[in-house]
Amino acid sequence: MKPFTRFESRLVPLAIDNVDTDQIIPARFLKTISKDGLGSQLFCDWRYDAEGRPKPDFILNQPRAKGAEILLAGDNFGCGSSREHAPWALTQFGFRAVISTSFADIFRQNSLKNSLLPVVVPREVHAELFALPVEATVSIDLESETLVLPDGRKVAFAIDPFAKHCLLNGIDELGYIRQQEDAIAAFEARCGSAVNTLG
């Protein structure tokens, strides 16, 4: 896992509340057995017409989205299914952070495991970000948990401390859990479970 660093980017505004994971990546693309190739399918049904041509009025097809690394989304972003294909598609498109007023639980956890930062900001800041000019950039500093606005003002956001530690140091959670093998084995010895599917 590559350590997460401070970065600066234009915003890609998507002013829609309750964007669900079926919009982020429709279920028909979940038949893949790989993590790759999902970036071109991100927001597929909003992004392409029936013939598969990019719709010019959809934000991801506009010049401002090119090279941008921050998606500015509406409330309750990522609700719905547990598909990790959603953060995979977002990161493969090039996003490194999503800014919103709230995120669905499973999406937030999946994002943090894929170096996609879910940044929660207060409602006033959220509205202010949507009002910024196209070329405006903001920067995100995970270390200090701050979002820096174009006029230099700093807005604090909170990230789960453990997830932050893992992101900043490139620590992989599975590796961390495996270091606790002794505790896991002791737990199993203490609390056997009655369930045995091979029985």
Partner: protein, 466 residues
């Protein structure tokens, strides 16, 4: 200090708590399916790891599988490869797998409880957000992503922060033709699709106690549609009667020991919750959704709301956008609106009791001309039982399709789907844009409402046909 069932199950599964990290939580049962697992198995191979407790893991194929003749191969080569990959992965890692050819195959959240794999007091996960279903037994059950699937396969553990507790009390008594589905749809409308974010629900109260296990599963299943990762119901005699004698349930003396453990699970008198809400079941009507989020629902006698009357600008725009997608007029009733398809099935409402409910309406009646009606049992067990009771004959005589078990048109991964612009009344859980097929328009409802609508060809109050 009095504790909730959430505290009790959580506390019994904490392996360790390190400073600066979430708790390490032990997982008793891990259900696996073909869609969210292949990349996790790849991860194990890349690290040279094995599955720690294959006997606490159980796999089936449900999302991608066709619901047509099972003796034929899967036509879609990408779906065929995914199902074959699940089978190969399970063989390689020693996990019991009930794929296409097995008589135990079915929707993962239907077969877990039917087989007795789901038990009170356990922690249970699956790479699927509707894992909340299993909470109906007093299990702490929640959906996880593929990275977490890999973690559980390798270590049987997850790093978790404890969620807040949210008490959902359902008082009163349901009127005839008003169901568990209507309770949960009404809750989602009341608190919103993000209302339970960061929380675990505990459903309680006399209206919950009066429900069968299958109805309780319908309620817990849609916890995630209100944003809660899990929903629990304390076990009681209804739970134990349902479980007794099931294939993987404890037997003999083990059953007695388990029962004495389970009886200590219900929340203590005076236990404190972070949030709470109350719903009066007697005030509920059959519910239908008009929009593209499960929170956009109305009682069937109600009117499609006018966005102009909504104060919050974000919500106003969401509803306006949804009505454009659904092509519905504000201020008009949804009842009476013409439909093209009815889908009866899914992990929400694909159990035997749901099939019985639908059949009770369709018996001696015929589906409306030109309407397509799919009845998809959630498992082979539900299918066999339905056929033993002659329900298949009722469905076929009424002009409905009687299909093989799977997720089917709930998420339209397997070719069962709405065409662009079609309206479908569905007993499933999500009415998101394109969820049941690109351009398809979903109206969520109970099996009774779906069956009544199948008969008339328009959205119909089941009380009219009762």
């Amino acid at each position: 200090m009095p504790s909730t069932i959430i505290d009790k199950v959580w506390g019994a599964h904490v392996v360790s708590e390190q400073p600066g990290a979430p708790a390490l939580l032990y997982i008793d049962m891990h259900l696996v399916h073909e869609v969210t697992s292949p990349q996790a198995f790849d991860g194990l191979r890349a690290r040279g790891l094995v599955v720690r407790r294959p006997e606490h893991t159980f796999a089936t194929a449900d999302h991608s599988v066709p619901t047509t003749d099972r003796t034929l191969p899967i036509v879609d080569p990408i779906a065929a490869r995914q199902v074959a990959q699940l089978e190969a992965n399970c063989r390689e890692f020693g996990i019991p797998c009930h794929s296409m050819a097995s008589q135990l195959q079915g929707i993962v959240h239907i077969i877990g409880p039917e087989l007795g794999l789901t038990q009170p007091g356990m922690t249970l996960v699956c790479g699927d957000s509707h894992t909340a279903t299993h909470g109906a037994f007093g299990a702490l059950a929640f959906g996880i992503g593929t990275s977490e699937v890999e973690q559980v396969l390798a270590t049987q553990c997850l790093l978790q922060k404890k969620s807040k507790s949210y008490r959902v009390e359902v008082t009163g008594q349901l009127h005839p033709s008003v169901t568990a589905k209507d309770i949960i749809l009404a809750l989602i409308v009341k608190i919103g699709t993000g209302g339970g974010t960061g929380c675990i629900f505990e459903f309680c109260g006399p209206a919950i106690r009066a429900l069968s296990m299958e109805e309780r599963m319908t309620i817990c299943n849609m916890s995630i549609e209100a944003g809660a990762r899990a929903g629990m119901i304390a076990p009681d005699d209804t739970t134990y009667e349902y479980m007794y004698g099931r294939q993987f349930a404890p037997q003999g003396e083990e059953w007695d020991r388990a029962l004495s453990r389970w009886r200590r699970l219900p929340s203590d008198e005076g236990a404190v919750y972070d949030k709470q809400v109350s719903i009066d079941a007697a005030e509920l009507e059959p519910m239908v959704t008009f929009g593209t989020s499960p929170g956009m629902g109305i009682p069937i006698s109600g009117l499609v709301p006018d966005p102009a009357g909504i104060a919050d600008p974000g919500e106003r725009e969401s509803v306006a956008k949804a009505l454009r997608y659904m092509d519905l007029e504000p201020g008009k009733p949804l009842a009476g609106h013409a439909i093209d398809v009815v889908f009866i099935g899914s992990c929400t409402n694909g159990r035997i009791s749901d099939l019985r409910a639908a059949a009770s309406v369709l018996k001696g009646r015929h589906v409306a001309p030109g309407l397509r009606v799919l009845v998809v049992p959630g498992s082979h067990d539900a299918k066999r039982q339905a056929e033993a009771e002659g329900l298949d004959v009722i469905f076929l005589a009424a002009g409905a399709e009687w299909r093989e078990p799977g997720c089917s048109m709930c998420l339209a991964m397997n070719g069962d789907q709405l065409e662009p612009g079609q309206y479908g009344v569905a007993t499933s859980n999500r009415n998101f844009e394109g969820r049941q097929g690109k351009g398809g328009r979903t109206i969520l409802a109970s099996p009774l409402t779906a069956a009544a609508s199948a008969v008339t060809g328009v959205v119909t109050d089941p009380r009219r046909l009762a």
